[in-house]
Symmetry: D2
Subunit: 367 residues, 4 copies
């Protein structure tokens, strides 16, 4: 019920603002005995870290994570794990210009209306910096998953930038880590580089679509009716800054299918296990995993902090025009890739624990 928390048994509460002394995550309910060191979490944080190339914000943050509790002699104890990331680059002079104006498309107006607080230094709690805490928590989830579902792999990648989609025929997963956009389509990566560079130079920004897949998840994860695996994934992804849409499997396109096209036919494979001949369902039926790949996609809107002038108003209620200087991402969707992976990891670990708690393990056998 905590409004800044998610998860049923593996429960993550993030805290902190972009320009305060620190931010982090309080991770409760982690199984004990999981080998864990800060370096393992740092790996994932470094992937998300800004300032690594010209396509992400030039804000320089070390994003060094400290483990303050819950680990003893290199293993989790089963008690809360506190993760802290100091904010080192808190230059706020760049934001002075917008102290009184609201950025169209940004949360500063709604935060103001609700709370009567205007943290003009960089979005405060609504800053994308909050997602660093999620990435760190996701790193813990990944380590815990290893014992509970060995072989489970989570991978996110970009499938669309602005209006430009990848060509599914060109997908090569080995390409994902070879380009700054985490895309499996090498040709798209080249095209997008040119496209985004122009966007950046023109002071504009653009949206993106990210796909995250979990391979090797067991059947049986999820529960009706409000702890469905897809319900929790939808909430997890929609809770990420700037996300406006979430799809499972065929997603919105499922509306276009006929019943026979949508039905993933089943047959017994050579190992005597159920085999689905397609995966329109994205690995989830009735809110419960089928054992197929779990496939989630989400759309990230373009950064609202842009150099192009936009009409807006001030706190005192006068019309104005705004230009957002400062260091911003031309495509914030790029850094959303590791965030989406982290959310997937947290949700799956949570459901592994929830399933073990209520059911103990799958009870129905086929064949």
């Amino acid at each position: 019920m905590s409004i800044n928390s998610f998860g049923h048994l593996f429960r993550v509460t993030t805290w902190g603002e972009s320009h305060g002394p620190a931010l982090g995550a309080t991770v409760d309910g982690c199984p004990p005995g999981v080998p864990l060191a800060a370096a393992q979490l740092q790996h994932w944080l470094d992937l998300r870290k800004p300032g690594q190339n010209k396509y992400t914000t030039q804000r320089r943050e070390a994003d060094e994570v400290e483990i303050l509790s819950g680990v003893f002699e290199g293993k989790t104890t089963g008690t809360p794990i506190q993760l802290m990331i100091r904010n080192t680059d808190q230059r706020s002079k760049d934001y002075g210009d917008i102290a009184d104006k609201f950025r169209p498309g940004h949360a500063d107006i709604t935060y103001w209306q609700k709370y009567g607080i205007r943290d003009y230094r960089g979005g405060g709690r609504s800053s994308a910096r909050e997602t660093a805490a999620r990435v760190a928590a996701g790193g813990i989830a990944r380590e815990a998953i290893k014992a509970l579902a060995p072989g489970l792999q989570i991978k996110g990648y970009m499938v669309q930038m602005g209006p430009h989609q990848i060509d599914r025929d060109r997908v090569d997963m080995d390409q994902v880590d070879q380009n700054p956009f985490w895309t499996p389509d090498a040709t798209a990566a080249q095209d997008w580089a040119t496209y985004l560079d122009e966007m950046r130079k023109s002071g504009s920004s653009v949206g993106a679509v990210i796909e995250v897949v979990a391979k090797g998840a067991p059947a049986g994860l999820g529960a009706p009716v409000y702890a469905k695996l897809d319900t929790d994934l939808a909430a997890a992804m929609m809770s990420i800054n700037a996300v406006k849409g979430v799809e499972i499997g065929d997603g919105m396109a499922a509306a276009m299918l006929t019943g026979e096209a949508n039905a993933d036919e089943i047959s017994m494979d050579d190992d005597g296990k159920p085999h689905f001949n397609s995966n329109h369902a994205g690995g989830i039926l009735g809110g419960i995993s089928t054992g197929q790949d779990i496939v989630v996609r989400f759309a990230v809107k373009p950064t609202s902090s842009i150099l192009k002038p936009r009409k807006t108003i001030t706190k005192s209620g006068t019309d104005a025009e705004i230009v957002t200087k400062g260091r911003h991402d031309p495509c914030v969707g790029i850094r959303a890739v590791p965030v989406g992976e982290a959310m997937m990891a947290c949700v799956i670990l949570d459901h592994l624990l929830l399933h073990r708690g209520q059911v103990g393990g799958n009870r129905g056998k086929i064949g």
Copy 2:
């Protein structure tokens, strides 16, 4: 944390199976003093009720709701409201054919794997009949909203059936209640009637996209980071049977926009209030409502119970072919319209209470 519940303060737990004695909803946290009678809830249930025309299942259910607790002398008491709907048409003979086979695209295989239970009579807990309980609970939410946000209106309608979208230029909201598809486009309604009739006759089914809009919601509803209004709406809609995608505002299409196209510019209106010149955000920024229309869309996949033969397997692990007889909806999306409205009502009431609890009312003024 209850796996069959949703909501923070206004908390709904649905229970019951399609072929058990009854189903219903336990509604906790409703404000006291709300005028409430079963007839008010029946109104919404009747809209969702099957068997009303040839486009919905011919199963005949009275769907009469009884209020068993929480109302005294015509008003809510502030204690749990128990809603019960008896299942009157429990014919299960139609389902005998599928007692041992799994329907492709249906939850019966995942329920079996997880729980080791095969309620072959009609989906059990995964049946769309569960949504009747949501509609009843939503009826309570609507009554409670009247006192907290007078004038707030919630309306759902179909914007796409199969591949056929409405023409936004033809939208006339007065049309929504004039056709069996709840669509605001009268021309589309005619076209879809022909289209769906063919689908039905051919033993197939088709998906749909539903849009639900809340007009007149105050600014300030929602909270970072995991009780965001859009997070809770995404979870609410994704938890509805057969939903595969959820969008807020521009949704997946937000990925295609540039920053300047996406930014809903703001100006002061003649009444001295902020006015947004567009609504790409769907009324939500940073997880908090802006005061604009709150716009949600979700895609419903086609019914998996179809007359067309599909390849499948049996519990004992042999390949088979399945044809689902029985009484099914050619477009289950039709009946999802009142369900989506109900979920919107529940989420908004919940956030009205949550906002009043933590903040008391909006604290920041403009102008």
Copy 3:
């Protein structure tokens, strides 16, 4: 977070008023595959049922429980179990006298102040009748425990009535079911019979202390810091009507002990297992079970509905005197015995599931 629910994974929501059409419990999170029939629950309800002897209220209620969902072919399905008990004896004429006056020591004044609702017919939601739903839910918990902790036994009994305590040297657990007070001290039972009969005839009432013991619970149940086993037991017992104090092990008397007297010494027993030489701790250390008997005690205040005249006020704010006619328990603590057992069962099952979920089973071995 639901205000009428308890439990983390095994989650019970009770609903209903004493004079409405029905009351019951929505039980979510029960493991699947537990053999369950209404008759098993009825057994426990019959023990709590009023009107069985002259020491409990003469209100006659069949207290017949119906299972409306969550059970298929005699086994739990893992989905919500709805339990309903119809109110058959809803005579409310006896209460007419108190429609406008508040009973001193009764919740009717606080319910009125908070909710503005005055269900004068018998306490409404605050009636002890609500505990019937808990007893039914506890019956489910008992069945589920059988598979998870075979041999675990839960037994409650009265250790004090008014100022009269049992003599611990006379305790014979076989006596508990042999007297109307559920006491293991046969001599006390005789004395209390005389004592309570006088109380009843004089129109007064009296309090009691109940002890509930769980034998055979495994070590390792509970978790710091707010899901401690004793924290949850304290909440569970204090939530029962009229309970004013809860003790674990030595309870309030622990304050009087020195460190060496309180420390339950440990030695290895002949089976190579840890053996505690005493049980001041009541089977719980640091919020986690030790494997010893789990011992909880709670005090029940005397019924506030008595024939003796008391000073009070009316809704309209005038001084008055009140005499409560109607059918009331001279010692409501008697019927609290099966309720306390039920709460113990629910809490222990919940922690068995929670422990399995997070930890999987005990990880530390001794010897």
Copy 4:
């Protein structure tokens, strides 16, 4: 549901171990706009701080609290407040002797059995040091209460040390801050000083009973059936280390009363408000506050870390004898006083918010 959290809307998660780098509290759901600085929280921490006199542990901890998030320009923002207290005195050599033996009466055996982790350095998560985080969180609650319930006062004090109770006729609340035991009975304070000094010298320890009173709380706080004010208070107090019993109002002694003795008679006072002529109920009826003083008592067992030798076992399963050196409190109950106050503050604020959320304010008027 988070196992290390408490509260419904004002939600506190504590984290950290006695000998790790730091401990703290993540406080979510605090109303925005509350004036807050670290110094206000430090005031309460200093009261609890060890090493201030010879009756508390000689471990020297600065216990300096830092606010890492949730406060901007001196006011709470409505987002999570992270409180961190660095552990500065982490000498662990004193504990070496007990690295392999379990302390009778201590949680180290149950933590080991459950988690397979043995943090021999000082209790890890089960250390009383965890309560520093509660005291800091309680300090926030106190500040937030000021706006919601002006004039509300919370005060805790010791009413029993070992077998020695205070004399209620000698109570003078001005004395509470004048002696090291926080007792309102000056004579008892003198007697206890002698008594505890002997205990300390003999290497023993002793228990205590603490009473906490909230004056000026409005009527209407609390809700049936599992968010009762007394249920939440019982859980809050029982969750404190070493607490074995909790009482509301007359507590366990309520069992001894007759109905007429227990019933707090009501009359209208000169201001036209209800006046209770006594307070056996401890300010709570049916789980909801009456407007009287809210009175809670809890018993703290003696410290289990004592110099007196006790029989125990080792991890490897051999019998042994243990003597706990190190720096321990002869009466850990002393430092429980500010902790009990903090828990009362957190519970009351939580219910102020919960009541405002669901009900908006009291709805029933008298007179």
